[in-house]
């Protein structure tokens, strides 16, 4: 789960990281009032989870409260890559002498938490990795003993932190590490970390991505979820315990298992169609999940056909078929459905499906082709 900048900063501040906190505003008037309290020039920043908000006009300077309100008026309601801005962060503006990148990632290859640092801050680290890889320090930390002081010093020296700011840097590095570990993050980055003209070391922008598997033990962080930036169908799916991602195609997919669900999408594409979604209903293809999945898929008006692909294994195919037929009888909107069930009693499933005028298929390739035809042919 991605956190908004102001949420990420809240958590970093709790762990002692000095930053330009500021205040959030959802109206120009709130932005004006916040600027009055801050008392000086401010930056008005769109709070969106997608990248590239600066280029999209979502970050603007304002020297006084009146202009801050104006800038907020321009930014709130702005569409940034499909997301409508609802909230801005009004933060004190800083005169910047230097920008650094400082991040921690869950490093799958090294099986460690790895520090990524660069004296070239303010741009995306992937960009620096391409253009100037030598400017990046990658330092995997020991997974059992964690961040050590000599490592903090090494990172500071690598970045060229001035002698007078090394103690401040150590506080920031330790705070970032504590943030990562204590909130079960996948990513925690400060970009940029800046030295201001008046010689302070501060986090100007921050981003935290949390490990979804660890959210159950962090109810306080779960509350930071921004549902404004989620597809309503994805919220409904999460509440139903279904793994779902909305896409742009016309063929709805209902599959058990994540790998098979991705494969089903790939084969729809290979057959000349476009998948409308990724959907994993989980093990057993239980009747209530099937019903919830139908509703979520059909809420998308683009969906012209549904491909149901269930590898039953131990689950009985005829039971799954009855569940599908039953759930379908309660639908308010109907589209052609292609059903492929494999596993125990798969043969017994076929007459049940055929009687309910569902299209059946033996192989996944065949099912994908039939679904593309049912949706009106190749895109």
């Amino acid at each position: 789960m991605k956190l908004q900048e102001y949420r990420s900063k809240e958590i970093l501040a709790r762990h002692g990281v000095p930053l330009m906190a500021g205040e959030t505003a959802t109206t120009p008037e709130e932005a004006r009032a916040a600027t009055e309290r801050i008392g000086g020039p401010v930056v008005v920043k769109a709070q969106v989870l997608v990248g590239g908000r600066g280029k999209a006009g979502g970050v603007k300077l304002a020297p006084n409260p009146t202009e801050a309100a104006e800038r907020a008026r321009e930014i709130i309601g702005l569409d940034i890559k499909g997301t409508t801005v609802k909230t801005v962060l009004v933060a004190p503006a800083a005169e910047i002498a230097h920008e650094y990148y400082l991040g921690l990632i869950l490093d799958r290859a090294a099986r460690a938490i790895t520090v990524i640092a660069s004296a070239e801050g303010g741009i995306e680290i992937e960009e620096t990795a391409k253009t100037n890889p030598d400017a990046i320090l990658r330092l995997p930390l020991h997974p059992l003993i964690g961040l050590q002081e000599h490592e903090v010093r090494r990172i500071g020296f690598f970045l060229g932190i001035a002698a007078g700011l090394r103690k401040d840097f150590a506080i920031i590095m330790r705070g970032l590490y504590a943030t990562f570990v204590e909130s079960d993050a996948d990513l925690a980055e400060i970009n940029p970390l800046v030295v201001t003209d008046d010689g302070r070391l501060l986090a100007l922008d921050a981003k935290i991505v949390l490990d979804d598997s660890a959210l159950p033990r962090h109810p306080d962080l779960e509350e930071m979820r921004d549902v404004n930036e989620e597809e309503p169908s994805e919220i409904a799916a999460r509440e139903a315990g279904i793994s779902f991602i909305k896409l742009d195609g016309s063929i709805g997919c209902m599959v058990n298992g994540a790998g098979l669900a991705m494969t089903t999408m790939d084969l729809v594409k290979l057959a000349g169609g476009d998948p409308a979604n990724f959907l994993d209903i989980g093990g057993g293809a239980k009747a209530d999940r099937v019903a919830a999945a139908f509703k979520i898929i059909l809420d998308d008006p683009n969906v012209k056909a549904i491909l149901i692909n269930i590898f039953g294994g131990i689950t009985r195919g005829d039971e799954v078929a009855r569940g599908i037929v039953e759930a379908r009888s309660h639908l308010t909107r109907d589209v052609p459905m292609v059903v492929r069930i494999v596993g125990t009693n798969a043969e017994e499933a076929k007459p049940i499906l055929a009687e309910a005028s569902l299209i059946t298929a033996d192989s996944l390739d065949d099912a994908a082709a039939k679904a593309v035809t049912a949706a009106g042919g190749a895109a």
């Binding site: 869950l106 799958r108 290859a109 099986r111 460690a112 938490i113 680290i125 992937e126 997974p143 059992l144 570990v181 079960d184 996948d186 490990d211 979804d212 598997s213 660890a214 159950p216 033990r217 793994s243 991602i245 896409l247 599959v255 058990n256 298992g257 994540a258 790998g259 098979l260 669900a261 991705m262 494969t263 999408m265 790939d266 084969l267 729809v268 594409k269 290979l270 998948p275 990724f278 994993d280 590898f311 294994g313 131990i314 494999v342 596993g343 125990t344 192989s363 996944l364 390739d365």
Partner: protein, 292 residues
């Protein structure tokens, strides 16, 4: 012959009295797996699966009483890291964790502790493994297999079943099928299993089923180019997956432009491994490579 588990495997099941644990343990017994013990803290002295398996409070006790040499874990995610550590402490050399949703930072610590002890962990978030006709550990349906010369390794569950079924239908049997798990931090990698298959005399050909996220498929391709002379075929799921989104599996995510299906296909191509467009094409790729 086979890898990891065989007729000598004496299996212990942690969480045997739970719903999932009991259901799948029954299927394992029916397949012929020798389940010698169950562990559920607080239920020691009872028995499970209609009196067929004794239950112990601790792994250490179960091992001492029954000589168990491998464990299969079905406990909920919040307790799984501790269960894995208990299995390793109890002296088991092989631990298979089926549980999904284990926090990654917990797995980092567990991974390194088990590695230092020399304990082999499969999973978490995996379907387990089957050595055909010898032992089935986990949740892979037993009836889809046929005995034969092909080793299979995969990050998925039902997609693995799909491929195994396609192979069995085409008359290509398996030595062992291994699901290594869909999480970002897992105990056993593609390279680990490929190395085992490469050294297993009964395994004449290898199938690898990968998916988007991480770079383990790329590492596997490099390993195969260097070490493996057995015929191979592969499939990579997620060509249509959008970047930055987790596709069900915690580990299936394209981040910062890395971990794409194309990058993995390219690496496998360069290693001389043919990649199927559909799981149903895998048997033909194996036939083309001379597998009988």
């Amino acid at each position: 012959m086979s890898i990891l588990v065989n007729a000598e495997t004496r299996l212990l099941v942690q969480g045997i009295t739970g719903r999932e644990g009991a259901f799948h343990s029954t299927a394992m017994l029916e397949y012929g797996t020798d389940i010698v013990a169950g562990v559920t803290p607080g239920k020691g002295g009872q028995s499970a699966l209609d009196g067929r398996v004794p239950v112990f409070d601790t792994v250490a006790e179960a091992v001492a009483q029954t000589g168990a040499n491998a464990s299969c874990i079905f406990v909920p995610a919040a307790f799984a890291p501790d269960a894995i550590l208990e299995a390793a402490d109890g002296g088991l050399a092989l631990v298979i964790c089926i549980t999904e949703g284990v926090p990654a930072l917990d797995m980092l610590r567990v991974y390194h502790v088990l590695r230092a002890k020399g304990v082999r962990l499969i999973g978490p978030n995996c379907p387990g493994l089957t050595s055909v006709g010898e032992a089935k550990v986990g949740i892979i349906p037993g009836n889809i297999h046929a005995r034969g010369p092909v080793g299979l390794v995969s990050r998925s569950g039902t997609l693995t079943y799909e491929v195994v079924q396609a192979m069995t239908d085409a008359g290509l049997g398996q030595t062992t099928t291994v699901g290594i798990g869909g999480d970002p931090i897992i105990g056993t990698s593609f390279v680990d299993v490929l190395d085992m298959f490469n050294q297993d005399d009964a395994t004449e050909a290898i199938v690898m089923i990968g998916e988007i996220g991480g770079e383990e498929e790329e590492k596997a391709a490099a390993f195969c180019a260097r070490e493996v002379r057995k015929p191979m075929a592969a499939f990579i799921a997620g060509r249509t997956a959008p970047p930055g989104r987790r596709m069900g599996h915690a580990g299936a995510i394209i981040s910062g432009g890395a971990g794409t299906a194309e990058s993995k296909r390219l690496a496998l191509d360069e290693a001389g491994i043919r990649v199927a467009d559909s799981p149903s094409h895998i048997p033909q790729l194996l036939r083309d490579a001379g597998v009988r």
